[in-house]
Symmetry: C2
Subunit: 212 residues, 2 copies
DNA sequence: GTGTTATAACTGACTGGTCAGTCAGTAACA
DNA sequence: TGTTACTGACTGACCAGTCAGTTATAACAC
């Protein structure tokens, strides 16, 4: 077995390691109460070393949010690509599955949760997240809705309400499971929960009469 | 005009005044970064006086959450009373209007926002909120759904998905407007947004054929 | 009314602890 | 032997919570 050298020489990997550690500590304690010393220890470094890679604690938060926003923006871009699909209904179902799978996983939703908790205090973070993630996702959802309306798959509902109806349940799922420890009674599988939600959103709560 | 006495004698009103100030400061800075001195000043007191009414900063947070949870629990109780109504569809529409009106108002949603941000770090707060607010609301929603199913107004959808579909958009609305400064494009009135959402949830995204 | 006293309400300087950020020094590698 | 990566003790600022002292009010006396 190769002995892990006590002092590893891989400065290229350090920033990401530090951001991982920072996410974990910020997530557990919140930005203000998080100690840089703890982040350093979790990253396997001393406090001083962390300051070789980031000029301040706030820079770590920014780096973290940027990284996460980048990933989410990519996911949203994929949605754009899927914005004018052959089958809007299937695309919508797939989107809900993605959303619930991501929002139900504490490792994945840690960054969005952090942004929710801290964005009010850091206007640049809110603005960055808004332009990089929310606006992109909004455009993707609008495109999906428009495609569905064009093809006759969807009714011409209000786009903003559509956005809230689609994304909101995902956020609620995240809050209920990851913040309040609220396991669903029956649908513990995120995909099953997404399907149940798709059923409500697509067919509505009112009983439906058979199509002619 | 009556001159406001510099040192007012009304110890009974103090705790609530302090909690109001605490909500405002916690909301702006978060619990950890909030300074007791600032809360005191906002309540028109010195720091020392605050400690005559609350033993610690954390006690203020707890008091605040308890107060807010009490109010929300009351609102949820009203929903229970409305759980087996004559007209489940009208009740559901009314519920969404209440939810969006509350969640769109920064003064009203400040407390829930704070709980969202801090609950992960204060297990008792999460537990308290869960038992006093979330469980009550969940029971109310289940009762509403069950009543609707019984009367034939609603289909028999999954209760947990129903809860997420109903509450989630309200949370999304709160996040978009109060955290990210995201004004809707068209429906700036919360009641109109609620109605648009009700349209989606009740009738579904798919085109509906006329009832026979 | 006008002193006198008691006490409830409050003040703000102070203490002790915490922690972000620094830097002189050390270890590992080339 | 020079350079890069890192360490951890240290400093200065900040702030929760305390407490000796101050002020407003009430209560009672005359």
């Amino acid at each position: 077995m190769t002995a892990l050298p006590k002092r590893r020489r891989r400065p290229d990997a350090r920033p990401d390691e530090i951001l991982d550690a920072a996410l974990s500590v910020f997530s557990a304690k919140g930005f203000a109460a998080a100690r840089v010393e703890d982040i350093a220890r979790e990253a396997g470094l001393s406090k001083g070393a962390v300051y070789l890679y980031f000029p301040s604690k706030e820079a770590m938060l920014n780096g973290l949010v940027e990284q996460s926003a980048g990933q989410l923006a990519k996911a949203a871009e994929q949605l754009v690509a899927l914005g004018a699909p052959q089958d809007p209904e299937a695309a919508f179902r797939g989107l809900l599955r993605m959303l619930f799978t991501a929002m139900g996983d504490p490792d994945i939703n840690a960054a969005p949760r952090l942004v929710f908790a801290e964005a009010a205090r850091f206007p640049e973070i809110a603005a960055h997240y808004r332009s990089q993630v929310l606006d992109v996702a909004r455009r993707a959802l609008r495109a999906l809705l428009a495609a569905g309306v064009r093809s006759g798959a969807f009714r011409d509902v209000d786009a903003d309400a559509f956005m809230r109806a689609t994304a909101g349940p995902g956020i609620a799922h995240m809050a209920l499971t990851s913040i309040f420890g609220f396991p669903p009674d029956r649908l513990t599988d995120p995909a099953a929960m997404a399907d149940a939600l798709a059923d409500i959103l697509l067919d509505g709560l009112k009983p439906r009469v058979a199509a002619p």
